[in-house]
């Protein structure tokens, strides 16, 4: 879709900000450019819509040589979002969004419809927001408007330069989540600049690590974490890259499903037999598979007769299968639990995540659940 070939930028003052980089971006791919300040991310981005003209190299979009064409027409077909947003203060939100459609000579009716549709897309009520001026919105709302303004004519390509960089952490996460959902439906080809590794890991299909105008590594997030190309990338990824990996892996992928369980209505004697196989803790479910609690081996001696429900502990920790392992670990630490149950929305047991499964991850970066692990050991 987008193809940069041996692109360089030497500024008139003689400084080479981008030094012979090549990059192929697939349709629908979200590529994140990351690197320390001044490494040439913005310069690279702006060469794609020719806000900066490359001093050498070629850029192709869908096979067409961009540098030979009309930059104005090019830009109208590429959404552009910057950190400072650049909404026009003398225009209402609706007018801001309508600008590019107007430049493209859309009819009034079509523009109105599109504006409303876009505002709704990012959770802004058109009846309320359309007539407001930018200074009447919160920072997060303004940035949402910045994003949909860039989406107005449904351009196939979006360039985004630290779009969420100026927001507070909570709003930023919120917008990232919304943005991911949006991208899942609109499937744009996106080049996204950030210097926040967590943001890159969260959003990127592919991460391009830049340093001094060059590309050091270009790979999928997990690959960057597992196999940093060199020490610079390793440092950039950070000492906590193991933990970062946890945020990329879903509970569903890491949970152990082949586990022994107790039924709440089975007898304590039967439970004792199961524990004799060497387990130290087991999840208790009812006959429909809904989690009810857990029993540790030490609880077995509290009551000698009766159903398991008499000795089970009902305060248990659980997590959904689509949460990240990082969240699972956080929960385990908070609750001081050796494992937590993975349940679906109805409370049905899907499996468990234990500190054991996390340990395996550290050694073997990408997880393979071992089939022979049965039940849970709490160490």
């Amino acid at each position: 879709m987008i193809s940069l070939r041996d692109i360089s930028k030497k500024f008139p003052n003689g400084f080479t900000a981008v030094d012979n980089i090549s990059l192929e971006i697939e349709p629908g791919e979200l590529v994140v450019l990351i690197g320390s300040s001044g490494c040439g991310k913005t310069t690279t981005l702006k060469m794609i819509n020719r806000l900066i003209e490359p001093s050498a190299g070629q850029i192709f979009i869908n096979g067409e040589d961009v540098l030979q064409g009309d930059p104005i027409e090019l830009r109208r077909n590429i959404g552009y979002v910057i950190q400072e947003i650049g909404l026009f203060p003398h225009m209402t939100i609706a007018e801001n969004i309508a600008l590019v459609p107007q430049l493209k000579k859309w009819s009034k009716a079509k523009i109105n419809k599109r504006v409303n549709e876009l505002l709704e897309l990012v959770g802004l009520d058109p009846a309320v927001s359309a007539k407001k001026f930018p200074h009447e919105l919160s920072g997060g709302q303004r940035q949402r408007v910045g994003v949909v303004r860039a989406l107005a004519v449904d351009p196939p390509i979006m360039l985004m330069d630290e779009p969420f960089g100026a927001l507070d952490p909570i709003t930023r996460e919120q917008l990232q989540d919304e943005f991911l959902k949006l991208q899942a439906t609109v499937k744009k080809t996106i080049v996204f600049v950030t210097h926040d590794m967590d943001e890159a890991l969260k959003l990127a299909d592919r991460i391009v690590v830049m340093h001094q105008g060059r590309i050091l590594q270009c790979a999928r997030p997990r690959e960057i974490l597992r196999n940093p190309a060199n020490d610079f990338v390793r440092d950039f990824v950070g000492a906590d890259h193991t933990l970062k990996q946890l945020s990329l892996i879903k509970v569903r992928e890491a949970m152990q499903t082949d586990i022994s369980t107790l039924y709440a209505d089975e007898s304590i004697a039967a439970a004792r037999e199961k524990f004799a196989q060497g387990y130290r803790s087991m999840v208790v479910i009812d006959r429909r598979g809904i989690v009810k609690g857990y029993v540790n081996k030490v609880h077995l001696n509290e009551v000698r007769e009766g159903p398991v429900s008499q000795i089970m502990r009902t305060r248990f920790s659980s997590i959904g299968p689509d949460k990240s392992l990082k969240e699972a670990l956080t929960l385990m630490i908070q609750r001081d639990a050796g494992y937590i149950a993975v349940i679906d929305e109805r409370g049905t047991l899907l499996g468990v995540v234990s500190t054991n499964s996390l340990h395996q991850l550290v050694g073997e970066p990408y997880l393979e659940v071992e089939g022979e692990v049965e039940g849970i050991e709490i160490s």
Binding site: L51, I72, R75, I82, G86, H90, G146
Partner: protein, 212 residues
């Protein structure tokens, strides 16, 4: 009392001079804007040119008006012409300066996103720069207008007419009543123009809820 009596007796003459005054001021102001606004826009594209133009406009401002009229008479003779030329020159600094700063203070982020969304230079000028700088530009015109009313009074010495005629007549005959009969309407005229342009500025402000 004497003043009011004089006014009552000579209201048609004063009215006539007032109209002359308005005429020379308005003609000059319109011409000053026609020249100053494009000039102010042009120099936003070139820092060096901006420095020079603003410097020259500043110098003109410091030339005493009597001296300027003196220079102009040998070239343009007497009457409306030298008066208008002088007033246009005096109007340049506030107009050019406000156009220039009004446009220059638009944030780089806005300029970047305007370019990034594929607007041409002219579209940016028409849809972003001028509308956004409009209150500031109008402010410059307002400043110029008030100054020109005052200077137009002095233009009476080159035979442009206006309320200056009364002021000078009063001075030469040492009659303060006549001076006042010229000066007070001139001052009221300045206030009225200032008020009208002020109202216009507010009502045309594209950001109605963000009054500056």
């Amino acid at each position: 009392m004497k003043f009011l009596k004089y006014m009552a007796l000579h209201y048609d003459k004063i009215g006539h001079l007032l109209l002359q005054h308005v005429r020379v001021t308005v003609i000059s102001l319109v011409l000053a804007a026609i020249i100053g606004i494009p000039l102010g826009i042009l120099i936003t594209k070139n820092e060096k040119a901006a420095k020079i133009v603003l410097y020259v406009a500043g110098i003109i401002q410091t030339v005493p008006s009597i001296a300027l009229f003196g220079f102009l008479i040998p070239v343009l003779g007497i009457g409306l012409k030298p008066a208008v030329v002088a007033l246009v020159l005096y109007g340049q600094l506030p107009i050019i300066r406000n156009v220039y700063t009004g446009i220059k203070t638009i944030s780089p982020a806005q300029m970047e996103s305007a370019r990034g969304m594929g607007m041409t230079g002219f579209q940016i000028l028409r849809r972003i720069q001028i509308p956004e700088a409009f209150p500031v530009i109008l402010g410059g015109i307002r400043t110029a207008a008030v100054a020109l009313v005052g200077i137009a009074a002095i233009a009476s010495i080159v035979g442009a007419g206006g309320l200056g005629d009364l002021i000078f007549e009063g001075i030469s005959s040492v009659n303060s009543t006549v001076v006042l009969a010229g000066a007070i309407p001139a001052a009221l005229l300045a206030l009225a123009i200032d008020y009208v342009l002020g109202v216009l500025e507010r009502s045309l402000n594209p950001m109605p809820t963000m009054k500056k």
